[in-house]
Symmetry: C2
Subunit: 389 residues, 2 copies
């Protein structure tokens, strides 16, 4: 079981804080955006006296309400096609376990969300990466690259759109390419759309709207980022494939039920005014622009402009991202401040890739981002392992 | 993946309710005891504005507080030996995944909590049952029976004490027997002590207090039953084995964090007055006495007197418990009421066992229990598949 690349530097960050150094966290997708007060209030005002198990698929009232949410974003499903999960994490786990047997393989464009690896280990399946490249802004690799990776054990492709960690927003054409591959080789398409609300470079095209793919597409969703409600641990597995639903329900029943309190929050959040996302999106867009322009202004740094989510991957003039990120916490400070980044190596399945890349989550406000970029800029001057840019 | 035997009759219960029949639920361990108001209030009064991820091991403040809870029940651990999980379910899953490889085997005295099967499938391991018998009140099978079941792939024994589904409370001597086996064959001992607080026939002896077993014992715990907080989905994996902790932490990091709201509840509950459990225990004891005496007064019925938890298994004069439980919901009513039971077949790993046994959860108040027993008594007169008692 691999360590989380996002969290493994935590002890160094804790040590830095104990020394009195302020650490700007760009390493983890924990937004600082306030959870909508109305949704939090709904939890404050719960009126039950017994904190009971909910339905294993989640409260029916919540699932019915989610149908209207999905309708608003252009996805037609009924409430029986939704299983509420304990975070998007459990949706991924249930998807893997329901559709794949031990020894089966999934293809994922790399760099990819590192926890897919953890769930693959848990489900005893193999992840086969297909490389996307920073110089192509992390666009979808060519169909021929996927075909090279397909073998007799391949059962699925995982696509995270907009992408974590790259921020890349896949176009409708790219999604259609995936559809062709999935139909030709009879593969599932696992679609992680956790960042659906945060698209800046164009419209989001959901895998659920790929025609003729009802039996192939499994949507893995979460309210964590949508409503800045990461700690609630509420997600959803959504599919029109009845057999997958039936199998996932068995796993859902084995773990009894998803958390009750945050289901109340999720249900209430659907009634937020339509402009709720406009405000958060505008805020993230502002932050993205700060981050990307600051990064590209540093000598030897390249950061493609991400079309969605709140992540970017930057290439830095350094020898080794793991060493650099640890050094930032252990040996560097600028005005008693430093920055925590995620080495990109942990997001690649192919060993050796991403050694001079880091992932940055722009989850801090503009001022904090500027200060973090000041730190990074200074660090790149001081770092002993810097390379010629 | 097997269906949950406890939940698979749900559609029949829903159909009965739609016909206007009142269903007494003795099929599931959902207590009707109110969640302590003080603990619920702590959730109502949370004061954060961003519902953030917690630490992957759970809030440090909660883990530190849990140390004092465990101290109160005579278990010495430090807060680094506790990983907060999403319900006891996840503690079981993390335990299995951290200690066992695909293809490994665990031995569990049967009948056993059916969801162990689900987690075994999820972890790709094999459950080997060792039979305990209703005529011996479901006491621990002899050491020789365990030894017969041990082979080269055996890695662990799972013990649920007090037991779900039998209600049997294992004695210190029985726990020492398990210790000898585990040390002799170098096995883990997974101890599910979800019902620790509810012992009527003697004191609880925790597996954590088996001397010389620190590297073997993994405690799987939960607040679900302790505080009637099933929907919170908060449990804990506790062990003094550092390697198991390190591995479990990787799984914990992959799923990011346990639910935030109910951690607040769990932490607040530790400050409940010392007599809190006295009251709930007295209530369960009263219910147990009603249930067991009513059952044993029915012709052809035998129910051993359980020493703990809030379950009992009864032998009924019927041909087939699955048919009978379905018939109760589909074809029977008494004064427009019926009762939902769990067929014991689903709790046995050995096919064919438990065919004339049912599990009853005494999670309803005395009056409701009496009415449910009236229904069952009448049903046993009318059931077409009744056998000579």
């Amino acid at each position: 079981m691999p360590s989380s690349p996002i969290r493994k530097l935590v002890p160094y960050a804790e040590a830095a804080k104990k020394k009195g150094v302020k650490v700007f966290h760009l390493n983890i997708g924990q937004p600082d955006i306030e959870t909508p007060a109305k949704a939090l209030d709904a939890v404050r005002h719960f009126d039950f006296k017994v904190l009971e198990y909910s339905h294993s698929a989640g409260n029916e009232s919540y699932r019915r309400k989610l149908v209207s949410y999905y309708q608003q974003v252009g996805i037609e499903v009924n409430y029986n096609q939704i299983i509420i999960t304990t975070g998007g994490s459990e949706a991924i786990l249930f998807g893997f376990m329901s559709c794949l047997d031990a020894g089966d393989e999934v293809i994922i464009p790399e760099p990819f969300y590192a926890n897919y690896n953890g769930f693959a280990v848990a489900a005893d399946i193999t992840v086969r990466p297909v490389t996307s490249y920073i110089d192509q802004q992390f666009a979808l690799p060519a169909a021929s690259e996927f075909e090279k990776a397909i073998n007799a054990r391949t059962r699925a492709i995982v696509i995270c759109n907009p992408n974590n960690p790259t921020g890349y927003l896949y176009s409708r054409e790219e999604m259609e390419t995936l559809k062709k591959i999935c139909l030709k080789y009879d593969l599932y398409l696992f679609a992680d759309e956790a960042y659906r609300e945060f698209c800046y470079g164009g419209n989001h095209f959901s895998a659920m709207n790929l025609e003729g793919m009802d039996q192939h597409v499994v949507l893995m969703d979460t309210i964590s980022k949508r409503y800045s409600a990461c700690g609630g641990r509420i997600g959803a597995l959504v599919t029109r494939n009845q057999l997958v639903l039936d199998t996932a329900m068995k796993f859902a029943q084995a773990r009894l039920s998803p958390p009750s309190f945050a289901q109340i929050l999720g249900e209430a959040a659907i009634d937020l005014p339509a402009d709720y996302f406009d405000n958060t999106k505008a805020e993230y867009l502002k932050r993205r622009n700060i981050l990307v322009s600051r990064l590209n202004a540093m000598p030897g740094v390249y950061c493609p402009n991400p079309g969605g989510a709140f992540y970017a991957i930057a290439r830095l003039p350094i020898d080794d991202a793991d060493k650099f990120c640890q050094w930032l916490l252990e040996s560097f400070q600028y005005h008693n401040q430093t920055v925590m980044l995620a080495p990109a190596t942990g997001f690649y399945g192919t060993p050796g890739l991403g050694k001079n890349e880091v992932r940055l989550a722009y989850v801090l406000n503009g001022e904090a981002l500027h200060t973090a970029m000041d730190c990074l800029s200074q660090a790149l001057l001081e770092y002993p392992g810097k390379t010629k840019s």
